[in-house]
Amino acid sequence: MRKEIEKQLPEVKLIPEKWVDRYGDYLFNFTISRVNDPIMAQDLVSETFLAGLKSAHRFKGNSTERTWLISILKRKIIDYYRKINSNKGKAEVRMSYLTNSDQEGDWMEEKAADLRNPNVEDMIEQKELSDVLEECIACLPERYATIFVQKTIDNLETETICKEHNITASNLWVIIHRARVQLMECLNNKWHKNS
């Protein structure tokens, strides 16, 4: 029975040539909100694509290309934090802090956020909101998510997106509209009910 269902499912094929254009910005946003370092974020995104290429033969098509890449990226981010939290990593961070700064003082105290500062509160809220929104975008059908991200986040021209996806402008607006309605509902459920 399961085999019959699997046969009926459309086969998802990987297209590595289009990964950077399709998912580059999305993965970069996802990473930067977690590592807060643009150079490291770029490296992690690049490593994710390379790891995806290496393990492409293991991709069974059970999830979408984007979900699969995100799962690889999550593991890369965990590895990154493991590395910097190892004793050697901590020593490296401390060394670079001391060599880059003339100031003396307690390292932890200076690095820790001042929660009374309203900017910090805003930043935390923004971070939480963008995390929830990323989760919600991940729940959208892949086509909706890609088109929504291209129009709203990447600010691409309507014509460019229509050409890429071979759709009319009115189709594009219907897709964006449906994506937004789903995102608003998702945000209502996950964000507003928690806050």
Binding site: P16, E17, W19, V20, D21, G24, D25, F28, N29, I32, P38, Q42, V45, S46, F49, L50, L53, K54, Q126, L129, S130, L133, K151, T152, I153, D154, T158, W173, V174, I176, H177, R180, L183, M184, L187
Partner: protein
């Protein structure tokens, strides 16, 4: 008359397009006219605007063209190996 009056489905699409500044003056007028008598669409439009403000308040970052090219180069090299 049908040139001026639109249904709720059309109005909700116009509301979304308005968030991206995509409406021409005629469409903006039709949308405003519809909102004038439709409570549901007025409420949807408000929520849509609120959602757009939230999206704008988030700091979206994107890879620069140079960064994308550098990643593409690495990928192409790995693919040709």
């Amino acid at each position: 008359m049908s040139r001026f009056f639109i249904n709720c489905d059309q109005a909700s699409i116009l509301s979304t397009r308005e968030q991206y500044g995509d409406l021409n003056p005629k469409e903006a007028f039709r949308h405003q006219l519809h909102r004038g008598h439709c409570i549901g669409c007025r409420s949807f439009h408000k929520n849509n605007q609120r959602f757009q403000r939230k999206l704008k308040s988030l700091k979206w970052v994107a890879l620069t063209i140079a960064q994308k090219q550098s990643i593409k180069k690495c990928l192409v090299e790995a693919m040709t190996k």
